[in-house]
Symmetry: C2
Subunit: 485 residues, 2 copies
C-alpha cells in the first residue's frame, strides 16, 4: 500500500524519481520541473504545489523539495514572495534542439601490417620505468608555488638544463633567458606565425616541407611562397627578388629529403634575412639522430638576431610529452610572452619538471645515444632489404640521419592512388609529392619511416612493398597495352 502510493506518487507533476540514480533526489525534482518550464509543459504564471504537498506526493522529505525549489528560485525559474504561493516566471519557454553526438570517422586510426609512417620514434624502447621514477621524483620536488601560475616562458630550472644540453650536444651557447618552452614544434610555429606574420603577409617555405607545418601556417591566413629544395636543401638562388616576413627551413636535415644545407647556402640565407629584415625559422626537428659524425651546428649559431630556432623533444623523448622550445631574438621576446599568455597561458608543470630531471641526470643523453645506434642499424637493415629484394633501379636520398628514408624509383610515378592501393594491401607509406607545395617535381620518390619498426617488420614491409610496386605498375602497363590494341 505504502509502496503503491509511493510508486504512483513518484510521477506526480511529470516528475519521475529514480532512487537508484547517482543524482540526488532534490536535483531530479529541480531538473524535471525546470525542463517542463523550458519545454512549455509548465506555463508562466502557473502555481507550483506547496513543498508539503509535493513532498507527500513524491514520497520524499520536505527539505528535499525545498532544496529543489530554492535552486529554481535562485535561477529565476519560479518566484515565491512571503506567504504568497510559488509561481512560475514568464517567458521561459524555448523549443529545445538536440543534435546527435558524432565522431568524424576520419579520426579513427587505421592499423597496417607494414606501417612505414614517418616521424614516429620507437616507443617500445623508451625507458618507461625510469621515466615513472622521474615523474614521481619531480612531483615530490614540487612546491605549492609550482602548482600555481609558473609563467608563460616555462620554468627556469628546465630552461637552464636545455641550455646546458644544447651546449654539450650541439656546442650551441644560448642564454636560458632566450629559451621559451612550447607545447612542441607545431605549437611553436603556430605562435611564431601569430608573432611575425600578420594576415595577408607572405612567408617563404622550402618545398617540399612537412605538410603539417604548411597547414599550420595556412590556417593562420598567411600566404605561403614555395622555394624549391634539391638534394642539398633549399635552393637559395630562388630567393632573388623574393619578399617575405619569414622563411621556414630545416637546414640540419631537410624534411623530407634529408639534405644537410651547405655552408654557402646557409650564408646566403642569413644575408637574405638581413637585406629583407626577415626572420629565418630554423626547424631542427630531428638533428639528434645523425648516425655518422655529430649533430649539425644550427643556423642560429651564425646569427642570433635573425634566426628563430625551433626544437622539440617529441622524437628524442616521446610525442605525448608535448614539450618543445624556441630560442627567440630579444626584440621578439616580450610580444611572445603576451601572445602565449592569451593563447594558452603556459605549459603544464609535471612534464616540465620530469624533463628537467631527465636532462639534469644526463639520462636523455644516454637515451639518445642508444636510440641513435638502434635507428642507425635499422636504416642499414632497410637499405640492405631494398638491395636484396628490389630488382629495378633505385637510390636513397640525403644524409644518414633521422627516422625515415627518402628513396627514388626513377621508373615510376607515385601518386595518391598508389598510396591508397598500398594501404588496402596493409602497406602505409608516403609519396614525397604528398609533402610538396608545387606538385610534379618529386613524383618518383617515396618516404619510408623505419625508426619505430623492428628488423623483421622492416624486411617484411620491404618484401610487401616490392611485390606491390611490381603488381601495381605491372597491371598499369598491361592495361595501357590493352588500350592500344
Amino acid at each position: 500500500m505504502d509502496n503503491a502510493e509511493g510508486l504512483e506518487g513518484e510521477t506526480m507533476w511529470g516528475i519521475h524519481l529514480d532512487r537508484q540514480s547517482e543524482l540526488p533526489l532534490r536535483r531530479q525534482i529541480y531538473q524535471a520541473l525546470g525542463d517542463q518550464m523550458i519545454s512549455g509543459k509548465l506555463k508562466g504564471g502557473e502555481l507550483l504545489p506547496s513543498t508539503r504537498e509535493l513532498s507527500k506526493g513524491l514520497n520524499v522529505s520536505r527539505s528535499t523539495v525545498s532544496d529543489a525549489y530554492e535552486m529554481l528560485i535562485a535561477e529565476g525559474f519560479i518566484i515565491s514572495s512571503q506567504g504568497a504561493p510559488t509561481r512560475i516566471t514568464e517567458g521561459l519557454c524555448v523549443e529545445k534542439m538536440t543534435d546527435p553526438a558524432y565522431l568524424a570517422a576520419s579520426h579513427i586510426e587505421r592499423v597496417f601490417s607494414s606501417d612505414f609512417r614517418t616521424g614516429l620514434p620507437d616507443l617500445r624502447q623508451f625507458p618507461r620505468f625510469l621515466w615513472q621514477q622521474l615523474i614521481t621524483k619531480a612531483s615530490e620536488e614540487m612546491t605549492p608555488e609550482h602548482y600555481g601560475y609558473t609563467g608563460a616562458q616555462g620554468i627556469p630550472e628546465l630552461r637552464k638544463e636545455i641550455a646546458l644540453w644544447l651546449y654539450r650536444s650541439r656546442g650551441l651557447s644560448v642564454d636560458a633567458g632566450d629559451i621559451f618552452i612550447t607545447q612542441g614544434a607545431t605549437h611553436a610555429l603556430h605562435l611564431i606565425a601569430e608573432l611575425i606574420c600578420g594576415a595577408r603577409q607572405e612567408i617563404l617555405m622550402e618545398d617540399p616541407c612537412h605538410t603539417g607545418m604548411l597547414r599550420t601556417f595556412l590556417n593562420k591566413g598567411v600566404s605561403v611562397v614555395p622555394i624549391p629544395a634539391d638534394e642539398h636543401g633549399i635552393q637559395t638562388e630562388w630567393l632573388k627578388d623574393k619578399k617575405g616576413s619569414a622563411i621556414y627551413v630545416t637546414p640540419s636535415h631537410q624534411f623530407p629529403l634529408g639534405a644537410i644545407l651547405p655552408a654557402s647556402r646557409r650564408a646566403a640565407l642569413i644575408r637574405f634575412a638581413h637585406d629583407n629584415e626577415a626572420y629565418i625559422i630554423e626547424d631542427d626537428y630531428d638533428s639528434e639522430f645523425r648516425y655518422c659524425g655529430e649533430p649539425i651546428a644550427p643556423l642560429y649559431s651564425m646569427d642570433s638576431h635573425r634566426v628563430i630556432y625551433v626544437g622539440t623533444f617529441s622524437k628524442s623523448v616521446y610525442p605525448a610529452l608535448r614539450i618543445g622550445y624556441v630560442i627567440l631574438p630579444g626584440q621578439l621576446q616580450e610580444r611572445w610572452l603576451h601572445l602565449r599568455t592569451y593563447t594558452d597561458v603556459q605549459s603544464p608543470i609535471a612534464e616540465q619538471m620530469a624533463l628537467m630531471m631527465f636532462l639534469r641526470t644526463r639520462k636523455l643523453d644516454r637515451h639518445i645515444k642508444r636510440m641513435r645506434r638502434l635507428y642507425g642499424e635499422r636504416r642499414g637493415i632497410l637499405l640492405k632489404a631494398l638491395t636484396e629484394t628490389y630488382e629495378g633501379e633505385w637510390h636513397a636520398f640525403g644524409d644518414e640521419a633521422g627516422l625515415h628514408l627518402a628513396v627514388e624509383f626513377p621508373e615510376f610515378h607515385f601518386d595518391d592512388a598508389f598510396r591508397k592501393s598500398g594501404q588496402e594491401k596493409g602497406i602505409n607509406l608516403t609519396p614525397v609529392e604528398y609533402h610538396c607545395i608545387e606538385k610534379g617535381r618529386h613524383q618518383s620518390k617515396l618516404l619510408l619511416g623505419y625508426g619505430h619498426l623492428e628488423p623483421e617488420e622492416i624486411r617484411n614491409g620491404i618484401a610487401l612493398l616490392c611485390s606491390h610496386i611490381k603488381e601495381y605498375f605491372g597491371s598499369e602497363i598491361t592495361m595501357a597495352k590493352e588500350e592500344l590494341e
Copy 2:
C-alpha cells in the same frame, strides 16, 4: 717543454682549446675554424693545414682533427677531393650580429603583503601527496601507445570520467564523444575564436568580463561588441537588433559581479542564438564553488546545439595542470579536431592520466567539497572584517560563490591611480573598471580575491585597505578644499 709547446700550439690557426670544457676537442676545432670562415678571418679558397700538421700543432690526436674536418666537409665549409689539399668554400662570409638577451621587467612578479588578486585557489590546501601517488600510478598504467600521439580530442578514459563527474555534480548528461580536452579555458577560447569567428567578424561579450578573455578574442582580430551586465548578469534586452557569430557569457557566476543569470534571460539568450544562428560561449569558470545550494545547471542543458560549454580544472585542481574542456555541438567537432591538430596537436598525457584517476577515485569530489567549505568560511570572514572595520557605506555583490567578492563603496570612484597607490602600500586589488570594456559604469566597485588567503591575511588586508581608502580619499578631499581657498 712539452707543456710549453702544447700551450703555444693550442692557439694555432686561431684555435684555442679548453681541455676543461665539456665540449669535445673535435667540436672546439670545428667551431673555431667555422666561426673564422663565417666572420671572414679565413677567406674562401684558402688552404687548411693537413690533419697531421694541425693535430701536431694543437697537440691532439689526428683522429680528433679529422673528425672536425669531416663535420666541416659535411656542412660544406671546406672541400677536400682525393689527394688535393683541403680548401675553404667561397661565399661563407657573413657579418655576424648579436643581440643581448633580455627579459621584460614587466614579467617579474611583485609580492604584496595583502594580495587580494582574483582567481587564485589556495594551493597550500591541495592534496599534494595524494596527487604524487596518482601521478605515479598513472605513469605505471601507461602503455607504449600512451607515449605516442594519443589524439587531438584527449584520451577517452579522461573524457568518460569528466562526463560521469558532470552528471553527478551538475546533473548534466553529456556524451564523452562531445567532450574535447583543452589546455585550460584560455586555450579553449583561443580555439573557439579560430573556430567560429573569422577576422572582421563580431563577437558579443557581456561587460564587465574577464580582461584576459577579452584580450584572447582581440588578439584573434575579431571586433568585440560589449553587452552591459547588471547585478543579475547580462542584460539580454540589449541584444535587440544586435548581430554576431557568438556571444560570450558566464551565466552560473558572472565574472566579476557574481550574478546567477535568471532563467528568463537564459531563455532570451537561447532564442537570440537561434534567431541569429549564433553560438553561445558559456564559460563555467568556477561554478564548483557555490556555498549555499548546489552548482547551477549550465545553459548547455537548455540547448546542446547552440551552446559551447567551456570548463576548466585550473581552480578545482590547480592552475599549472593546464587541463580544461569544451563540450561542442556535433557540427563543430570535425573542424575543431583539424584546428587543434595544426595548433598544438594534443594535450600531454601524464596530467590527463592523473586527472582521470583523480576523478575515477572521486578524490576530486572530496577535494571540491572540502574547499567549498573552506572558501565559504573565508568569504564569511571577509564580510565580517569589512563590517567591523569599515565605517562608511558599502555592500557586497552577487551570489555566494567563487574565490573573490565584488564590493561597492558608493562614496568613491576607484581608478588605476588608486590601484597603483594601493600597490605601493603593499595592497593588491582590482577595481571592477579594470574588467570593463565600456568604462565608467562600475567605478565604485572593487574586487577582493580571498580564496588563497588565510583568515589572518584577510583581516590584516581589510584593515590595511580601510585605512588606505580613508587616507587616499581623505587627502584628495583636503587637496580639493585647498584648491578652492
